[in-house]
Symmetry: C2
Subunit: 138 residues, 2 copies
């Protein structure tokens, strides 16, 4: 059993965020002490980590909420969850290819700059030419 602060420390989220997630029903209702204080169980913590994993993948709160609803409904929603997760994977893959493309271009840029730094003629290049040069391969 963990206090709000402890749960926050463990997960790396703020207590405010934890409350926010609970309000938004990303997390099941956390049980309370006799006087209203939250008591996070290990299962709660695991649950929160699952949410964090989804947020890492930039899955919007809304979608996580939908998924969690199905999850709580349980067994008969398995196929739907399966489909959702498949969608998430597709989305992550898209994000990754976008990032990969950006990374490739940016690395080219870096190489280009490195060359330029070596050459004392680098002062000649104008900002107009730069992008074209590293984009279309010097």
């Amino acid at each position: 059993m963990y206090s709000a602060k402890e749960a926050a420390e463990i997960t790396g989220l703020s207590t405010a965020t934890l409350r926010y997630y609970e309000r938004e029903k990303l997390i099941p209702q956390i049980t309370r002490t006799y006087q209203k204080y939250r008591q996070y169980t290990d299962t709660d913590i695991e649950w929160i980590k699952m949410i964090q994993c989804m947020r890492m993948a930039n899955i919007p709160i809304r979608s996580i909420k939908q998924y969690v609803e199905l999850l709580i409904q349980g067994g008969k929603t398995l196929k739907q969850r399966y489909d959702m997760v498949q969608g998430h994977i597709k989305d992550i893959e898209n994000q990754m290819t976008n990032l990969q493309n950006a990374l490739n271009l940016t690395q080219k840029k870096l190489v280009f700059y490195r060359e330029l730094i070596k050459e004392p003629s680098y002062k000649e290049i104008t900002y107009m030419e730069e992008w074209k040069m590293f984009k279309h391969g010097n």
Copy 2:
């Protein structure tokens, strides 16, 4: 030379976004016709594409702005731009490892669901166990 609408079509951004980028100085001032209409040159379009590449990498507007400032100042800011670009690359790489981690777990989840669908016993599993199971490897 392209009209606002054409530039929007080419880049896939809205005219509003193009104006926004111009206001925010991500793009140099676009030249105008005798009566205030924007005329995007090919260079402008390329420039916009560079911005798009940076946005793809989730580089915030602010940072792009900083970079563009240096770019316009030109040659003597080369080292600074080099450093910035290096920072961008690091950032992209971080994003990618995060996504990769999320992807791995999500794929495990998918496999787990697939198994579960095959087994008629899948109705037994509760939402509490699920995450643990696919996370710690059934």
